[in-house]
Amino acid sequence: MRRLGPWQIDRDPAPRGWWVLVVSLGAIASAFLAAGALFWAFGIGPARAYSTIFLGTLGDARAAPEVLRQAIPLLLCGVGLVMAFRAQFWNIGAEGQLLAGAVAAAGVALFAPLPAPLVVPAMFAAGFAAGALWGLLPTLLRLKLDVNEVLSTLMMNYIALFFVEWLIHGPWKGQEQRGFAYTDTLPPAAWLPLLPGTRVHWVTLALGLALAGGLAFLLARTKLGFEIRVLGQNPTASRYAGINPLRTTLVAMLISAGAAGLAGVGEVAGIHHRLLAPDQISLGYGYAAIIVAWLARGSPLAAVLTALFLGLIFSSGDVMKVTLQMPFRVTDIFNGLILFFLIGSERLLTYRLRRVPRPAPHATAVSPGPERQTGAGIPEETGVAESK
């Protein structure tokens, strides 16, 4: 607690929605300002840079759908990560889970003798299962042996990456690729339909939107959702309430990893039509989805917006490279700046500024919280300190 004249800074146990929005938008605006300075240093006026970016992405009939296309894997991974983060499980492994889904989808399409109409559903089912399986191991390690999931999920990404490399250089290497490291092209039955005139594989997009809606409902209206929320906010309290932490975390994590697996299916069946080098299957979507989930602040529906936003950032990088002839790292820098300012602004959410006129010398103890009831009577140290 600290006084600044008539103002007092103290902990804010539950920041209000509008304040979260203001701080998040402020952080993004700061990132844009900082990036603007970078453009300026590069010899391009920020105003010109941003208008070029806008015209080259949303203001262009052929480029605008590309924003949507890049948002699809970000949405699926991001919604999944929202689930995991709500259960206080820090899943950094969406990238690997996406690759696992991609492998399963390619495997089904190349080798499973299925009638044509069943191929795509089977690919999605296998992709979800493979992603979930990839997430299962770090979940069990955390639940049974208390292994830090940040490290184990991250490491699983590398295993997935090298597994894909091994497949495309070894047993799955295609006959028709002149020895280059790709599988053969998937049969046409495994190709997802595209929105006419675009490269948007709408089936995956619809899946992502449905998943966002479904998970929002699950969190808000079902017993499992309630359990996940309580577990995430206070594991000790959840145990007293009779919530099985093993089962709840496991379910949240399987959904999370499975969703990332679906994203992998979409990339393989909708875009590449074959399995190829892991850094070509996913352009770091599994990692960028962490920003998607963070920006969404625990809401699966908000993830739809934040995924579109990140899709826009990815597309903006493409415009900057071509139209402004900037170096390729510019996208990474843009993403990095946004994450930097978002995490930096997090502090602003845990504190609030209140106007508390200096009390008269004889009335010391009473300081009524004028705005809200929440947290007014809770002593500073025992508030729900870790609220996200």
Partner: protein
């Protein structure tokens, strides 16, 4: 409403002005798979682009670096919006995207490096190193004392296998007892993996190095132990002047200048590229032997190569240095009187892969999977 109309008119006029200006000049767009600072494949293409811009009058160029394989099409869209009339895509993975774009833009010209699919408005081109690797192999075979030559390979794909094969044939041509030890790193650019592989090869007793990786790491690690090496793709002699013996250099500009001049002259159109396939080697000047431009053999190693004598069937007894120069002259000759992949050649399992008197065709070279005799180490997809 008035504002909207005004804005629409402005945009229309603006875009007309842009395309109007573009028709005066020829704009070419380049799509790169890696960063232009990689000191290998993409850097070399970018050097070629810059030289072509100077040499072809009226040429203006645009480029995009580090383009993911699936993104070729959207980037082609953007380059064409910028007024590009010729598009070069410089990685095998861009093949299908380039072909799809060529169908969508029948009025633009496309050229794809290292692929095999063409269209009336899409050509293919490649500058290949296998002859240069053979010359490097001759020198390596003469210089090894342990009879173990090392090769750090990027990916076990036909291109790299062909290069290691030619290198091993060269090594064996002057030193039948020598072996070529191969380590794969499964990356095009990864200095840490290249360093590890080089150190592992040193531990195996290897004392001369060649490699496929887009950084001077192998050269530097070998030089630290005082061991000679052959530079790859870019002039790396300056990184270890006393230890780089020779190497492989590329001149993509030869192809770019030739191609673009023919576009300017109206020889190449959007209708006659179906059979245009550049497969350019030493004779066309698209590749060069050496660790730096104009230096086929480093002066520091010349006398050592002159001291080693070998006997050949066609040239008799001569020093390895002279042999390298003779073979270079034969392959630079427009008639190409020598080629390393001339039969009879058996693979390392003893199977006859090139019959006596036959030369491997471009198609065979492009799909080559067998390992030449003397190669030691894993060889994925070995027939």
């Amino acid at each position: 409403m008035r504002w909207l109309t005004l804005a629409a008119v402005l945009i229309l006029v603006g875009s007309l002005a842009v395309t109007g200006g573009a028709q005066q000049k020829l704009k070419a767009g380049f799509i790169y798979v890696g960063p232009i600072g990689d000191y290998g494949w993409t850097h070399a293409h970018d050097q070629g682009r810059k030289i072509a811009e100077k040499m072809v009058s009226g040429l203006e160029t645009l480029y995009v670096e580090s383009v993911p394989e699936a993104q070729a099409e959207p980037f082609i869209d953007k380059l064409i919006q910028q007024g590009a009339r010729v598009i070069f895509t410089t990685s095998f993975g861009f093949m299908d995207g380039t072909l799809a774009a060529a169908k969508r833009y029948p009025n633009q010209i496309f050229a794809h490096a290292s692929g095999f699919k063409r269209a009336p408005n899409m050509a293919t081109y490649m500058a290949d190193f296998y002859q240069v690797y053979y010359l490097n192999g001759l020198m390596a075979g003469a210089l090894t004392k342990s009879n173990k030559v090392g090769y750090v390979g990027a990916f076990p794909i036909p291109e790299v296998k062909r290069h290691i094969g030619a290198f091993a044939l060269g090594v064996r041509a002057v030193n039948p007892r020598a072996t070529v030890h191969v380590r794969w790193i499964f990356e095009w650019f990864k200095p840490s993996a290249a360093k590890e592989a080089t150190e592992a090869l040193i531990a195996e007793g290897v004392d001369v190095f060649a490699f496929t990786e887009d950084s001077p790491t192998v050269v530097q690690v070998a030089a630290k132990r005082g061991l000679p090496s052959f530079s790859h793709y870019s002039p790396m002699q300056k990184f270890a002047p006393n230890h780089v013996v020779s190497g492989q250099l590329v001149h993509w500009e030869k192809i770019y200048v030739d191609f673009l001049s023919k576009v300017v002259a109206g020889k190449y159109t959007t209708e006659n590229l179906q059979n245009v396939d550049y497969w350019w080697l030493l004779a066309e000047g698209a590749v060069e032997v050496g660790g730096d431009f104009g230096v086929p053999v480093s002066p520091a190693w010349k006398s050592k190569l002159q001291a080693v004598q070998v006997t050949t069937l066609d040239l008799g007894r001569l020093s390895v240095h002279d042999l390298v120069m003779k073979r270079l002259a034969q392959m630079t000759d427009p008639k190409v009187t020598f080629d390393p992949f001339t039969g009879p050649i058996r693979d390392r399992k003893g199977k006859l892969v090139v019959p006596a008197g036959k030369r491997m065709t471009v198609g065979e070279l492009n799909t080559m999977e067998w390992a030449a005799p003397g190669i030691v180490g894993p060889w994925p997809k070995e027939p």
